[in-house]
Symmetry: C2
Subunit: 338 residues, 2 copies
């Protein structure tokens, strides 16, 4: 049992021995307990310093029943959106002395439950990011994962707060923007089928259509990355649309690049919008009109919600919705057919 003895690590017992006190006293000193005689405390600190003692967090975790670590499960770490959430989460958690453990499900929805469970057991709480699993599974899983916060999904389980981005609202506003520019043939380059955020966009567009019977709205199947946009050029041109709503900024960038290769001018011939406002969006040529989502802040907010849960504070709002904000840049312009 115990560790394979290479260079035995210094433990609390070594310090106790060296300082001529008990483990308990060393523990008290290390935790800043003031009921220790200053002289003894000093002796302990000296011993600890000489031995370069650092408490073992695993032992501490076992005794305390907490790890000061939270987990995050993402579908794909290559996705800038999840990277930004991770960053916001990690920064905010670090402020409170918590670390973040990553689990990437590689878009394999069947892996999510297992990964989430494993991560949860190692951590004090969990952030489940845009899970791809079905509603029923999510519903069933949620209680066992508590404390947990959801991003871009929701449950009926009251103890699980959700942070949602109102993609429907955002896409509607982008569509309105195109209409104001005189576009009457709009194309939505949709995202991954399993993506809940794509469903929200589609819903938003339905609402939009209801309010604009005169505007033609087409839908082209797609995905969530550069290639999706790049490969969709032909379909887009064939559609005859002049205002293109890309699923996100990546898709929009791919499309921009493809259109450029074809000699199609943006925004003179075709207007293109993205979604998310990733840092790169303002540096494309032309700069991308998009709907800005404060993703990093969302990550920070996720930590604050989770922290409240962990501390057993007042239950946070069940659902916290972030509204995207349209950023008009150079990739959209007046329709030629106005």
């Amino acid at each position: 049992m115990g560790r394979k003895s290479t260079t035995r690590r210094i433990g609390i017992a070594d310090v106790a021995l060296k300082a001529g006190v008990s483990h308990a006293t060393v523990s008290r000193v290390m935790n800043g307990n003031f009921t220790v005689d200053p002289a003894i405390a000093e002796r302990v600190r000296e011993a600890a310093a000489e031995l370069n003692y650092q408490p073992n967090p695993v032992g501490r975790s076992l005794a305390l029943g907490k790890t000061d670590t939270i987990g995050i499960v993402v579908p794909d770490l290559a996705n800038p959106t999840f990277q930004a959430i991770l960053r916001g989460l990690s920064m905010a958690a670090a402020q409170d002395g918590y670390r973040v453990l990553i689990a990437d499900s590689s878009e394999v929805s069947s892996e999510e439950a297992i990964l989430a469970g494993e991560a949860r057991r190692r951590c004090d709480g969990l952030v489940l990011c845009a899970p791809r699993m079905g509603d029923a599974e999510l519903e069933e899983l949620a209680p066992s994962l508590h404390p947990m916060v959801l991003i871009n999904r929701s449950t009926t389980e009251i103890r699980v707060p959700s942070l949602m981005v109102d993609y429907g609202q955002g896409i509607q506003e982008l569509a309105e923007h195109l209409v104001e520019l005189g576009h009457s043939r709009i194309v939505f380059l949709s995202g991954p089928e399993r993506s809940a955020s794509n469903a929200l966009r589609v819903q938003g567009l339905e609402k939009f259509k209801a309010g604009h019977p005169d505007v033609e709205v087409q839908l082209i199947d797609g995905g969530s990355n550069f290639d999706t946009g790049h490969d969709a050029v032909d379909a887009v041109l064939a559609s005859g649309g002049t205002g293109i709503l890309a699923f996100n900024d990546l898709v929009a960038m791919g499309l921009l690049s493809g259109l450029h290769e074809r000699g199609v001018r943006v925004p003179e011939d075709i207007s293109v919008t993205g979604f998310d406002d990733i840092p790169f969006a303002r540096y494309t040529t032309p700069p991308l009109t998009t709907a800005a989502v404060p993703i990093t802040e969302l990550g920070g907010q996720a930590w604050h919600s989770l922290r409240a849960l962990i501390r057993n504070e007042d239950t946070p709002n069940a659902v916290n919705t972030f509204r995207p904000q349209v950023e008009v840049r150079g990739s959209t312009g007046p329709s030629k057919n106005r």
Copy 2:
């Protein structure tokens, strides 16, 4: 002591009780020890399943002296390079059942040692990514962090393998590429001062200069992000250079954007190169000529080196150097003054 009792978690004891056996037997069954009577094993498994028992990893870690977790310390999680390393590391480690714990030093070099120490204690090993700390500090710290692998830095400590990217080589080749296109006035838009990888680029340029006394090479102070490039437009134009080597792709993209705003054509008026070949590089307008670094693979390699260390296998190569590969795209072209 112990956890604050909310909904007591199921432990090995509960399973033992339910199956009418001892803890030890349950442990054996859970670990696939075949010295257990099949009938009893089955009874244990049933009990475990009914109780939905999952072993507590913290207890396990304490007993085993290992956490199945590795840590990574990065200077800035917003940097695409470190994101890619993290991703490669995380994917590779997951293959072997290891999880990754993140620590972001926010470019504060004084925090690195503390973060690294803390992370190391919670984990079985550490990846230290492009640390900003001084050589002396790194040298002193290294032994206490073992097993550890370094990225883009090295130590004399033999047990610490390094994965390095040959930035000097890469920048030299990019400069050669510009010369071949007829450029004789080259400008290097340099990176952060503390960055070791910037120093390597500068060294590479020194070598280049030695081989090309006829070529003028200027150096402009900069940084590592979009804004650096965007804000450098005036200085670049004032320099009279026609071939611009940007510190990395981000800087190059910012510069591209700034030049576009000024109406300067790329590559007709000025050629621009990046470095790293981040995914966005091929989708800029024009697509960016750059030196490709297999960053995600580097992350994977980091895990393999670390794994060897953890398993106490043969000592991996002290230094493993990755050579960037020039990707010629549309942002570089013949000099007007050829």
